[in-house]
Symmetry: C2
Subunit: 263 residues, 2 copies
Amino acid sequence: MTTRGMTTTRDASIDIEVDGMHIAGTMVAPAQRLPGVLFVHGWGGSQAQFLARARAIASLGCVCLAFDLRGHALTSEQQDTVTRDANLRDVVAAYDVLARHPEVDANEIAVVGSSYGGYMAAILSTLRYVRWMVLRVPALYRDEDWELPKRALHKGPDLELYRRRVVPVEENRALRACAAFKGDVLIVESEQDMVIPHPVITSYVEACSQARSLTYRVLEGADHGLSDKASQDAYTGLLLGWMNEMVFVPRKERPVAEATELR
Amino acid sequence: MTTRGMTTTRDASIDIEVDGMHIAGTMVAPAQRLPGVLFVHGWGGSQAQFLARARAIASLGCVCLAFDLRGHALTSEQQDTVTRDANLRDVVAAYDVLARHPEVDANEIAVVGSSYGGYMAAILSTLRYVRWMVLRVPALYRDEDWELPKRALHKGPDLELYRRRVVPVEENRALRACAAFKGDVLIVESEQDMVIPHPVITSYVEACSQARSLTYRVLEGADHGLSDKASQDAYTGLLLGWMNEMVFVPRKERPVAEATELR
């Protein structure tokens, strides 16, 4: 590292293949990398829903990754059989791809999940380092039957009843994850949500007791899937404003020398 | 591409492997990448000579690559046998690694070569896109015997005589490369150079007739290898100032929308 000029740099030794042989090289790049943002879609959704939002956020100066959970888009034939466990591995695999991207600072990863994706995002924070967490209308499931197909969890009235009461933190994996999370949290509720009742949101909000900051907002008139354009825009605006406050403004204000010493 | 926010973005479709299966993803990153700078050392040198300079330049906001030509450092056992052709393939391989780096804008590559490396850098510009070219005390060899070991070219008085006259552009591969080059050129001579006589520098300067800009400087009191610290510092200062003028200031002044449309 050098402090000459406007920023510090990082060296990486590389191997260059030529004529079946190898020569040694050193790549020197500015030390400061970009934050990474992982988008996790909800059940029945796909990465496509997030692309416009991902581009808007990336334009602020970060790298975004949206992807299709197994059981969706090209693998929708697995929708009846895919388990939470498999989808959680999807989320971890996507996180790892994002964190290894050469432009991304692995100490500055945000995860943004909707509904089932919010539930997954919360649990991800116990498996990988997450600095910022956005849970929009996060779903909630009992810990039991973890290996059952996700779809089977919706059989009978049990799940709906489970979501009608505030769930104690200690009895739910996603809530325990939130309780242990020490980064910044944005929780977004839809006022007209017919899928995720208010007590679920309350369970999540109450669980985030150790968060560095907590922002809880309700999108007025919005339904669960943000089916109208006005609600989509309201969410995008909310997300951009929060990301700007939490991620981008602090980066600009941070002394350059400190930027490479985090975590 | 979107124009929302402070910069445009670029999408890249990616494949995420999980459990031996594949899920689809899209990585969205800011469109603006960094210039890349390739350093090509002279005969008997190594990448190590360039690292401090590479870090100083990278700190201005670019990605630098220094590497060891075959016949040097870890492959010095090939010094008696390596040919110009093999070393040129080394340079091209290193260029390709730099140009493919995700942080690098392949339309903004500078090559900086010293002595034998300057000769190689000039020829590289006919094989790959080079936007800026720095030739410090560039060497010159007859086109003949291209496949002979580089060391064999120094047998007898012929090479020394060749370098005592200004060489017509059309009879030399490196000079023809300079004559076809339309980017910005910096040529640096050492006042006390006992290896590369003044006519060689004149040959290069005269060859650069189509360059967008030409900067020719003599380092006072410097020898061929910049053996004293003052000469090294003078060269670093010259290089940084030129890079700043040619590469970094124009980037800052360029409208953001234009930045992704070059070439």
